[in-house]
């Protein structure tokens, strides 16, 4: 009976029912078939009307990967971006982010148990910060979802749901592999009456990735991390339940690289970067009746990143940076089942955010108040209509209204059709508002956040002699508006037989008000002063296919493919009108670009595909999986001056990554595992800084569970 309570980390209704049920479908749910992120209420994956992906426990166990970025890059339609390359870019500084439907990682909201993780660097939240230990499942919603989640859910949402077993358990796992990888986890659960407590600890270490030993420095510097998690649930009565979740993360990487002094002599720099990340959330669920449940959530998170670099020869400080962010949220969500056909979800909350860094002046704060409503309607058993709206009111930038509408129609038992529209937005971040950064090293540019600069301030700076000339562009300086997206999805899934199913989804995302920087003034030295504007408009469009074929009880074959085209609208229009030229790589000749020459936005692969073969022996004795992931070439840097990607040498090479894992049960409690990753040894130091070459690992795990 307790096991039946398990899925209810965030879902009040289910938590209190003996048998979990899709509140509108009337059917009982299996744990590995349920998503909560799409509607904020638990729904069968097959009943969800927006593109959703669920990575369950079985899949996590089959692959035995360690970090979130490794897992996501094997999924259909998810492009895991790599931190920029070596040398002056400082070895993968911004880490790995997840691109959904071709939208930038800046636009992917990352949640743990429904609450956002903070600490983005250059817009990207580094996925390697998240350990795969202690995870029950990962839910991914593709396409704009701000109608439920507000800012950042502009391209999609990744929600990581942690484990809270229903019985006393003790688990331990250790893995070791190439590149000095060590990963160890211990976890335990205690169940006592109406209280459950789960504790886990993970240690992860990764050595340097250095594909260019002839050059000083690494593509990725060595790092190690500690992740501690604690989760407690308590049932005060069969109507009231308390959930506490705490996470603490600490990471340290040792940095080395080389720069040149005025005489071009190498100067070696070393130091370290330390991250701290703490999250604490509490939620109280009360069920007033079978029809009415309310949840109160309190969440706080703090993130700190410190980098200190020194010159190796004399220990002189070279660079230091301190970045601190805090985020607090209070939220209420009430689920009200009006009838068998109608369910209403209402919510409201307030956010307080604070940031201080060496790159801004003072402590910056923001407060947001928001409210949302969602109505789910089942006019017939085969039809559902979900509509939603959210309003975000912000202190420091323009407010935003985000609607959504999703339809699902199942004409037959086998066929399901879905269509949805969703709006998304991303608030201007603190960097875009408050940055005040003078880069002396790289050509001496100055970058001001939009709230740090105005015509008046530029005039003052001109009088002070800091600025020599104010450019006409400066007259466009204005309050930044959120970046916005509108996503359209249409999909179909068909169950050909018990063994074979396929689905397809077409998407189009329209993105506008994108924040870019532009030159507003010149310094006496001629160096440029930049600030931010809402200027760019782009779109991403494509199609995603998934196939699943169960050969027999033991073998399963899955495949996925995404075709994608993402382009800047203004560039696209100018190329179509024949206004854009390119310079040929071979002889420098200038030619007029055709649309077929334009490769679209950088960092997007036209084709991405994966194929996975999974084997599961009877009684779980053996387990094996082989996964092939393909990514076609993608744009990196412009090299011919037209600021777009149109030449072969502006593209990174496409590649296939082949990974495999095998596991065997040794007795009742022990399991041994081994795996090999990147078997084809694809390496690209400049464009895939964080991808190790061919590597393998072995591991051993122990699990005791009270029967």
């Amino acid at each position: 009976m307790l096991k039946a309570l398990l899925p209810a980390i965030l879902c009040p209704v289910l938590a209190l029912q003996a048998q979990p049920a899709d509140t509108l479908a009337g059917s009982s749910l299996r744990d590995d078939d349920v998503v909560i992120t799409a509607t904020r209420t638990e729904r069968k994956l097959s009943n969800v009307a927006v593109p959703a992906l669920l990575i369950g426990k079985a899949q996590l166990q089959a692959v035995q990967l360690r970090r979130l970025n490794e897992l996501l890059q094997e999924q259909t339609g998810i492009f895991v971006t790599s931190g920029s390359g070596s040398g002056s870019f400082g070895g993968g500084i911004f880490g790995n982010g997840a691109q959904l439907q071709g939208m930038s990682p800046d636009y992917t909201l990352i949640l743990i148990n429904g609450e956002p993780i903070v600490g983005r660097q250059g817009g990207t939240l580094n996925l390697s910060r998240i350990s795969l230990s202690n995870i029950k499942k990962i839910e991914i919603i593709k396409g704009p979802a701000s109608s439920l989640y507000g800012s950042e859910a502009m391209g999609g949402v990744i929600n990581i749901i942690t484990e809270l077993p229903a019985a006393n358990t003790l688990q331990a796992q250790a893995k070791a592999g190439g590149y000095g990888m060590v990963d160890g986890t211990v976890a335990g659960t205690v169940v006592n009456g109406n209280t459950r407590a789960h504790l886990s600890y993970n240690y992860h270490r990764m050595g340097a990735i250095d594909h260019q030993p002839e050059l000083f420095g690494n593509q990725q510097d060595p790092f190690f991390s500690h992740t501690g998690q604690a989760q407690v649930s308590h049932l005060f009565s069969n109507k009231t339940r308390l959930l506490l979740y705490a996470r603490f993360y600490q990471e340290r990487s040792d940095n080395v690289y080389e720069v040149a002094d005025e005489n071009l002599n190498p100067v070696r720099i070393s130091g370290n970067t330390r991250l701290h990340d703490a999250n604490l959330n509490a939620s109280l669920v009360h069920q007033f009746s079978q029809k009415l449940t309310t949840t109160l959530r309190l969440y706080g998170t703090a993130y700190r990143s410190r980098q200190q670099l020194f010159q190796q020869k004399d220990g002189q400080p070279y660079y230091s940076d301190d970045f601190r962010q805090q985020f607090y949220r209070l939220e209420n969500q009430t689920d009200w089942k009006l009838s068998d056909a109608h369910q209403l979800t209402l919510g409201a909350g307030a956010v307080y955010e604070q940031l201080n860094t060496t790159r801004y002046t003072g402590v910056r704060t923001n407060t947001i108040a928001y409210a949302f409503a969602q109505h789910e309607w089942r006019p017939a058993s085969r039809v559902s209509v979900i509509s939603g709206l959210r309003y975000d009111n912000n202190q420091v930038y323009a407010s935003r209204l985000s609607p959504k509408l999703a339809l699902r129609y199942a004409p037959t038992q086998r066929l399901k059709l879905t269509a949805s529209y969703g709006a998304g937005f991303k608030a201007p971040d603190f960097r875009q508002l408050y940055l005040s950064f003078i880069n002396n090293a790289s050509g001496g540019y100055t970058l001001f956040g939009a709230n740090e600069i105005s015509m008046q301030r530029l005039t003052d700076l001109q009088q002070q002699g800091f600025v020599a000339q104010i450019l006409p562009r400066a007259s466009d300086l204005a309050e930044l508006k959120p970046e916005i997206s509108h996503g359209f999805n249409a999909g179909a899934s068909y169950q050909f037989s018990q063994r074979f199913s396929a689905d397809v989804n077409l998407f189009y995302n329209d993105i506008s008000n994108q924040i870019m920087f532009d030159v507003v003034a010149l310094r006496p030295t001629g160096s440029q002063v930049f600030s931010y504007f809402n200027v760019a408009r782009s779109f991403t469009t494509g199609a995603e296919w998934n196939l699943r074929y169960q050969l027999n009880e033991r073998w399963q074959l899955t495949g996925g493919y995404q075709w994608l085209f993402a382009a800047d609208k203004d560039v696209y229009r100018r190329v179509r009108k024949g206004e854009v030229f390119g310079r040929r790589e071979s002889d420098g000749a200038v030619y007029q670009l055709r649309l077929s020459d334009y490769a679209g936005l950088p960092g997007r692969s036209r084709h991405m595909a994966n194929a996975k073969l999974q084997y599961q022996a009877r009684a779980d004795k053996w387990q094996a999986s082989v996964r092939a992931v393909y990514r076609s070439s993608w744009g990196t840097f412009d090299r011919d001056g037209n600021a777009i990607i149109n030449r072969a040498d502006e593209m990174a090479r496409g590649f296939v990554m082949l990974n495999c894992t095998v596991g065997v049960k040794l007795g009742a409690r022990w399991r041994a595992m081994a795996g090999a990753e990147n078997l084809l040894n694809h390496r690209d130091p400049n464009n895939l800084a964080n991808l190790p070459g061919i590597t393998g690992f072995v591991g051993l795990s122990y699990e005791w569970k009270k029967q």
Binding site: G444, F581, R639
Partner: protein, 213 residues
């Protein structure tokens, strides 16, 4: 420094790459001149914080003579166009010396296909500080990437120039880097700085006053 500049500026003449097809055939074929490594305030050192420093001086150029103009001649109308980093001035308007009447605008075309000035005379702009005939801002006729800290002339941007003495010329800048080779995007800022502002360009000067090239 003078000799160095002269040596750095190897001038190649590509004869009769394009020819005038005017019906009355009054003009001789216009040749295409290629200029390599014209220094335009190159980096001579770095500040204590690593910022590249140059001499903050323009390099003056005569299109008719196809050579760098120096010394007292830079105060006459002997030069047509001058370069300093991304700044370009023409010998006209507020930049005029010696009564120079130069003007210019940026056309969208390939160098080869731009065979005749069809634009109205009003298209020609003179320097009117702080506005310039050739806008020094990135995104106009060149791009500067804040991802790679590399600059490139935008392909398909042609300077159409009326010289100080009222003749016409077309010019295409092909690179800002020494020997026309852009540093690798991953190269250090110092390597990028030390190799930049060596202009590579080609031009056609029409001495007879016609607007055809």
């Amino acid at each position: 420094m003078k000799n160095k500049w002269m040596m750095a500026m190897a001038v190649l003449s590509v004869a009769a790459a394009s020819c005038d097809k005017s019906e009355n055939n009054i003009s001789a074929p216009v040749s295409v001149q290629t200029v390599v490594n014209l220094p335009a305030d190159t980096t001579t050192g770095f500040s204590s914080t690593g910022r590249p420093i140059g001499a903050n001086r323009f390099t003056y150029f005569s299109l008719r003579e196809n050579k760098i103009i120096e010394g007292a001649d830079t105060l006459t109308n002997k030069w047509d166009i001058a370069f300093k980093q991304f700044f370009i001035k023409v010998n006209g308007g507020t930049s005029a010396t010696g009564g120079g009447n130069a003007a210019a605008f940026v056309a969208n075309s390939t160098f080869e296909n731009y065979t005749q000035i069809n634009e109205a005379d009003t298209a020609f702009k003179q320097d009117n500080a702080p506005a310039w005939a050739i806008n020094p801002m990135p995104g106009g006729w060149y791009t500067y990437s804040t991802a790679t800290f590399l600059a490139f002339p935008i392909p398909g941007k042609i300077f159409v120039i009326r010289t100080a003495d009222g003749r016409f010329a077309k010019m295409e800048v092909t690179s800002f880097y020494r020997n026309g080779v852009a540093p690798d995007p991953a190269a250090s800022p110092a390597v990028k700085a030390l190799n930049q502002f060596f202009y590579q360009f080609r031009f056609s000067f029409q001495p007879n006053g016609s607007k055809r090239f």
